[in-house]
């Protein structure tokens, strides 16, 4: 049976993980490759490196981060944050990214999805949607949640799919950072509207939140950052918890 995926997100600035990390025994806590390796040992299914840098120096550090992570770990690696052009995507792919996560750029030029899907295949193109509740439904925001786009999240997900996106990474702006649980209503609305996998993001605080988003939220995968950063064995404990509650999980055999 196809397993539901647990994805860890590393926010990286100038080559270092930005959010706090509390693992004992991790000598270089801010080193993304060391943290990625730790998650991998615990059984994470996939990694996302989210670049929160704006500088050219930071961009070069990103490429070496991607290289370091992808030479050691043999699980899918997505890279997002500031990818605006085909050249940005090419740099990430050549460094070792398996998937490119796009957020603001395709909202301005949706044909970017088609061009990247033609070049790398749909499996490499992830459309990140930041959505916020409104009286009309779920609105899409660009530029890290600062700019309203006038688009509806369900409609944009459908359009992204029709243009060749391989997956949707759906973040609830309302829940992000609250640790109050994923927005299951938003996730289910988008997941049921498209035929490509939907990754739920924003709000993970307890193991039960993952159970909820895989069941009532109809998510195919769930992404979190801080819940994994702050506790040792969180990834393996979470997967065991979900497995015991009947959610199909990859439990490593070798």
């Amino acid at each position: 049976m196809l397993a539901k995926r647990i994805i860890a997100c590393l926010d990286v600035r100038d080559g270092c993980v930005v959010k706090g990390v509390n693992f004992e025994g991790l000598r270089q806590a801010g080193d993304p490759a060391a943290l990625a390796s730790r998650y991998n040992e615990e059984g994470i299914d996939e990694l996302v490196i989210l670049d929160v840098t704006a500088t050219i120096e930071g961009r070069q550090a990103l490429a070496s981060t991607i290289r370091a992570v992808s030479s050691q770990l043999f699980i899918p690696l997505s890279v997002g944050g500031g990818i605006r052009t085909e050249a940005d995507a090419a740099a990430a792919v050549e460094a070792g990214a398996d998937k490119i996560s796009l957020n603001s750029a395709p909202l301005e030029d949706p044909s970017l999805i088609e061009r990247l899907a033609a070049r790398y295949g749909s499996q490499a193109v992830v459309i990140a949607i930041d959505a916020k509740r409104s009286p009309d439904g779920f609105d899409v925001f660009a530029r890290s949640g600062r700019a309203a786009t006038g688009r509806n999240a369900v409609d944009w997900a459908r359009e992204a799919e029709s243009r060749g996106a391989g997956e949707i990474l759906l973040t609830s702006i309302d829940r992000d950072g609250t640790r109050a649980g994923f927005d299951c209503e938003l996730t289910a609305a988008v997941s049921r509207a498209v035929n490509i996998p939907v990754i739920a993001s924003g709000g993970a605080g307890e193991f039960e939140h993952f159970y909820d988003v895989f069941t009532s939220g109809a998510a195919d995968a769930a992404l979190a950052a801080s819940i994994f950063h702050y506790a040792e064995h969180a990834v393996s404990d979470l997967k065991t918890y979900l497995h015991d509650r009947g959610i199909p999980m990859r439990i490593a055999k070798c």
């Binding site: 196809l2 070792g96 398996d98 490499a124 996998p197």
Partner: protein
Amino acid sequence: MIALIDYGAGNLTSVRKGFAAAGGDIVSPADPDALGDASGIVVPGVGHFSATASLEGEWRDAIARLVQRGTPLLGICLGLQWLFEGSDEAPAQPGLGVLRGRCLRLPPGRKIPHVGWNVLSTRASRLLAGIPDGTYAYFTHSYAAPVSDASTAITDYGSPFASAVEQDNVYGVQFHPEKSGPAGVRILKNFVAITRKA
């Protein structure tokens, strides 16, 4: 030296890194004439079956000739599908045809593409040596090869399909060994070892 055929179907960085971790010596020959010395051939690939049109002609002839001489051949993802007679994804485009049968679209009722980690039901084989039954591997595909005598692993997604194949010196995996963790690296190591014995 293992020849990794770069015919433009997707980026090969991850495959190269996977073989580097598996101790394989990989080159991507610029043209079919340079294939002659290869101890093994890897046909990778993601995307649409029509992409394999780039293999028609000289590449196909050179690969078929070496396979006939006993050179081990490994198809990954689209590369596995190409080992068969063809695919409904591009009906006019023939595959290499060393394995019987055609690839079909995954059945409706679930999300397509099939993306993520799924279970291998394995039987004893050279390529899957040391891979326990029930191991998870990472998939991303919409079409799949039929179950046959050549299947060494079967995976279920709506219906069963061949997730690994093996027939004489021809091997294939529908999943991505370069993205399937330690089990995937073990499979790449097994192929490297097979090319050294052949």
